[in-house]
Symmetry: C2
């Protein structure tokens, strides 16, 4: 199973693709960050993000997309941009008929480190170890996107199959 993880954001949107299956070694497919210029109107930043994510999907051909679930208790200044970026990621994936899963930051931290309150450094260290990398991917958004993808590979299974069936029934006929 190949999963594209998205740590949504307008200034920096982390994207990480991992392949693997529960109980098997994981492999890094690709990782990076999509940036959009802060001086551009939000509508145009969202269009740039949409195009970049389309290119990521074309290039890496994932079976599913995992997006961080955004909560409104986050930083009030940035939460709107994060929610809007997550919407673009969800639409780009779902309209291709790809299953989209949302995982909370706690779920992701617990999945990769065993501790739902792990800090950024601990998550990055585990991502580095689990993917057998020489160094932690930077910036943190890239590492977080990989952690999301790993979380989804491990949590996958039943919920992913239900999402895929729903996506096929409602989303993919474009």
């Amino acid at each position: 199973m190949r999963v594209l993880g998205v740590d949504p954001g307008l200034t920096r949107c982390g994207v990480g693709v991992v392949s693997g299956a529960p109980g098997r070694p994981l492999d890094l497919v690709a990782v990076g960050v999509v940036r959009t210029p802060a001086d551009l109107p939000v509508a145009l930043r969202l269009v740039q993000l949409e195009r970049a994510l389309e290119e990521w999907l074309d290039a890496t051909d994932p079976d599913a997309v995992a997006v961080e679930r955004v909560f409104s208790q986050h930083n009030v200044r940035t939460v709107m941009g994060t929610a809007q970026a997550s919407a673009v990621a969800m639409v780009v994936a779902a309209r291709r008929g790809l299953p989209v899963a949302l995982h909370t930051p706690s779920e992701v931290k617990a999945a990769v480190s065993g501790n739902g309150r792990a800090d950024k450094a601990q998550v990055a260290a585990m991502v580095t170890r689990l993917l057998r990398l020489d160094a932690a991917p930077k910036p943190a958004d890239a590492s977080d996107a990989l952690a999301l993808a790993i979380c989804h590979v491990w949590r996958g299974g039943a919920s992913a199959r239900i999402e895929a069936a729903l996506a096929k029934a409602h989303g993919g006929a474009r």
Copy 2:
């Protein structure tokens, strides 16, 4: 100038199209509400909204799109869906090269009623009067979308031209 106003939401997204120019009578072109089922995953609701808004743009061919600016101090339970729906509206418009403007609820209320703290009923009454309708469009989301469009027609001018130039430079080459 023909403006499509969007009062963003996942459960009910108001859409209203108005034509007119500052100092001239306004005309209603079309008004309605896009609904998406609450029992569907958010990603699929956003895809349905995207398709519906594409159809609105195809059918009404506006010169600009005005979207309500979402603030995080709104109802915490619904603000994420509102922010995500607004992102879809912005992307759908901007990737066609249409200028997208964001207006706050206070700006809209002040534009149509002269009072930035006007209540829903007052805004609906002014929309009804300004568009010479027999009755207020319902639900309130539809009326609010028309108020946004009216606000944009009246505030249009310079800011709309700047947005259009930016959209042409950055957004339309898809």
